[in-house]
């Protein structure tokens, strides 16, 4: 399934794609710049997060998705929303809690979704919770035959949550078409990465799930895009979930309120020089993909767009107070319009075609018996007792241990022959 080198080369971008990446990075930054202005004018209701210097990640990875694919943003993924087709006004209005915003003022920031059209899932603040949710999206898409990929992001800090582990492990057992971008911006609020995760490369988290991973320079939008693209297509082809660590840096504080003085000045300076837009402009200029005219055109287009979007947002009313009481439950037919979109013959998943033999097959040992007719404990002591088999009732079949436990004999501590046991070294140190 992996593309050959030749195929990969063909994926080099078209001029339009190069320009798109540039446009979206600029748009991402401009949208956030506008929000900083709104924040200073006290027009933003809650906190304001920034992805300054991380735009290449949001833009490059989301750009690798197809229209039918699904994504769920975290707080620093405004760029991904823009690429997926969210108009800037929605983002402004979300932050301003306006009635015309996607959540009509009930939730803020990037907390909104669009299940019907854009295929966006809303995040919640609790870090990591999106991971199993997007794994579920991925397997539901596969079940319906849609050939979609689900993508979300997580921070270096968020990778320590329990739900990161449960979600990614579950996705791996399911070989879910799911791509997780780990944005390692070296800080989780005030805590540096070495205090959160004792790893050089956070991509190594993948090793706990036996899944593929990549490390990519998160400030290089083309690398980000190409890596994400390859991962998305591998996931789509059935290779299972993929983790991409994007190395970057959080240039501002955790949110607007935080001056982030705990970050060494030199560190910030180092990364400011590696601004992803500056780097990309240099590259594009040298590759003759961008000149002053084109750049001006793009800037003007963005300015005009954002002026319009901002006006719209500012003119939108605040939600009427009574609206607070509405919508806790979905009642009636109107509020749940989602119907499964089958893109396979649904009879495949209906009996009799769906029926299977309900047994486990264990490599090297065949299958056990099905469970029909079993009983379960209710009063814990009241179930029929299982007659214990005598130790040697069945003659041992000498199968290789390697197969059984799936372990490589070289790695196994202990003697196979008990006689040698005393002088063996005790465990492979790793």
């Amino acid at each position: 399934m992996r593309p050959t080198a030749g195929e990969r080369r063909k994926r080099d971008l078209t001029r339009q794609q190069y320009l798109d990446l540039y446009y979206y990075m600029r748009l991402n930054r401009a949208v956030e710049d506008t929000m900083v202005k709104l924040f200073r004018q006290n027009k933003i209701v809650g906190g304001l997060y920034s992805s300054l210097g991380q735009e290449a990640i949001s833009v490059g990875s989301a750009y690798a998705l197809e229209k039918k694919d699904w994504l769920a943003p975290m707080i620093r993924n405004i760029g991904a929303l823009l690429v997926k087709g969210v108009p800037p006004r929605d983002i402004f209005m979300q932050h301003m809690a306006k009635y015309d915003s996607p959540t009509k003022g009930k939730d803020g920031t990037s907390h909104f979704g669009d299940l019907d059209n854009l295929h966006i899932v809303s995040p919640i603040s609790m870090l990591g919770d999106l991971i199993p949710v997007m794994a579920g999206v991925a397997i539901a898409g596969r079940y319906l035959g849609q050939k979609i990929v689900a993508m979300t992001w997580i921070g270096d800090g968020g990778s320590s949550t329990g739900v990161f582990h449960e979600g990614l492990n579950f996705a791996a057992t399911q070989k879910a078409p799911f791509v997780l971008i780990l944005e390692n911006n070296l800080w989780a609020y005030s805590t540096p990465v070495r205090r959160q995760v004792p790893l050089e490369n956070l991509a190594d988290r993948a090793k706990a799930y036996g899944i593929a991973s990549y490390i990519v320079d998160g400030n290089d939008v083309v690398a980000m895009y190409q890596t994400a693209k390859e991962a998305v297509e591998r996931a789509r082809a059935g290779e299972g979930p993929i983790l991409i660590e994007a190395k970057t840096f959080r240039r501002l504080g955790h949110a607007q309120h935080d001056p982030a003085e705990y970050v060494p000045k030199e560190m910030r300076a180092y990364w400011e020089a590696r601004d992803p837009i500056l780097l990309y402009e240099k590259f594009m200029t040298s590759e003759k993909l961008l000149d002053a005219t084109v750049k001006k055109e793009i800037e003007d287009k963005i300015d005009a767009l954002l002026q319009k979007e901002r006006d719209f947002a500012e003119n939108s009313p605040m939600p009427p107070a009574e609206f607070a009481a509405e919508g806790v439950y979905c009642t009636g037919d109107d509020c749940h319009k989602i119907r499964p979109k089958w893109e396979r013959d649904k009879h495949e998943v209906m009996p009799p075609r769906s029926s299977v033999s309900a047994v486990w097959t264990v490599e090297g040992f065949g299958t056990g018996k099905g469970s029909s007719g079993g009983i379960a404990p209710i009063h814990f002591g009241d179930t029929a007792n299982v007659p214990e088999k005598a130790e040697n009732e069945e003659s041992p079949t000498p199968k290789s241990l390697v197969k059984t436990a799936g372990k490589k004999s070289a790695k196994v501590a202990s003697a196979r022959g008990a006689g040698a046991l005393r002088r063996r070294t005790q465990g492979k140190r790793r």
Binding site: K106, D129, G327, C335, H336, I338, M350
Partner: protein, 340 residues
């Protein structure tokens, strides 16, 4: 068996004829909903090959296959999260907690993600979370939970706790078809102790409706799940002393059927709430507040409550028996109440 019909012990559709257990009713509900709608899937620990720790999903894998009956790793948050994501594409996942106690491990996903989605982002998550709950079987402090109030206190969820096979089947089907996340607690004490003849045809029981199990005029006993039987037992004893208790099965705890409750109170003017859940913060309190608000004039006596003790569920039978409500405690409280 690869493509055959499930055998006698495995899941089957309606109408095998004889009375069925509570457990079998659950199994039938899942079976029939899966037959009806390929959007319905089952996900949980050991639900597939093993058929669930209590065998409630036995035969489902055999009939519906690996894609629709998903054995997961031991990861309750992943189960709930994945189900939520699946529901976003139109599926209707039924999640099993192997014991309902483990719902504590996915509390965040349930109360923050699943419960709030419709209100906040117009993203309803029609999932069902079900599992064996309750005590009385010496399961000890980690296999006997009655966690209903944690979720009754969480706007956006619905909470069902049935007491009969008929209701279990009809309410579970209603839960699967509901557009909201529904928690469905199955009292394991009832799994094999209660049998009932079920209708041959498809039916549902409406969520949010209580049922009057026994009519009476002297006082109203409100209860649900296993305590229904204890309450009815007490009511029989009370009847022998001339006290006719009306016994109401709440069935759904969120939303509560205030109408049925208030109607009964209008008649009896006295209310005793019986729940197996611990006392402080149990649903009796909520009912007390509702009665204050909506039926204060109707009350001739104080709302009284018979509940478990405010402790973890102890393991030893002597201790657990003392911990739980029983017919005698209900009888005593009811007699006291009747005196008002």
């Amino acid at each position: 068996m690869a493509s055959g019909k499930p055998n006698g012990n495995a899941a089957s559709g309606n109408g095998s004829g004889g009375p069925v257990t509570f457990l079998e009713a659950i199994k039938q509900a899942m079976f029939e909903e899966m037959e009806r709608d390929p959007a319905v899937v089952v996900i949980g620990e050991d639900v597939g090959v093993y058929g669930g720790a209590f065998k409630t999903s036995e035969g489902l894998l055999e009939r519906f296959g690996w894609e629709r009956v998903i054995d997961t790793p031991i990861s309750e948050s992943a189960i709930i999260g994945a189900a939520c994501g699946m529901s976003y594409l139109g599926l209707r996942p039924i999640c099993e907690m192997q014991f309902i106690d483990f719902i504590a491990c996915c509390f965040n996903q349930l109360t923050n993600f699943v419960a709030k989605g419709h209100y906040l982002w117009n993203a309803p998550a029609p999932i069902v979370v079900r599992g064996p709950s309750g005590g009385g079987v010496h399961g000890g402090p980690f296999h006997s939970a009655n966690p209903e109030m944690y979720f009754v206190h969480t706007p956006g969820l619905k909470v069902i706790y049935p007491s009969t096979p008929y209701d279990a089947k009809g309410l579970l089907k209603a839960a699967v078809r509901d557009n909201n996340p529904v928690l469905f607690f199955e009292h394991k004490f009832l799994y094999r102790r209660i049998k009932e003849e079920l209708p041959a045809e498809d039916y549902t029981v409406p969520i949010g409706k209580a049922a009057v199990r026994r009519e009476g005029r002297h006082l109203t006993i409100l209860s649900y799940a296993a305590m229904m039987y204890t309450s009815l037992e007490a009511a029989e004893a009370l009847a022998k002393e001339g006290i006719e208790a009306e016994v109401i099965d709440l069935r759904t705890l969120l939303p509560l059927d205030e109408e049925t409750i208030l109607q009964s109170v209008k008649k009896t003017n006295k209310v005793l709430v019986v729940h197996e859940d611990t006392k402080t913060g149990g649903i009796a309190g909520e009912i007390a507040a509702i009665l204050c608000e909506k039926a204060f004039g109707d009350l001739d006596g104080p709302l009284m409550r018979v509940t478990s003790l405010d402790t973890p569920v102890p393991y030893a039978p002597t201790l657990e028996d003392y911990f739980l409500p029983n017919a005698k405690k209900i009888f005593t409280a009811a007699k006291e109440l009747a005196r008002y």
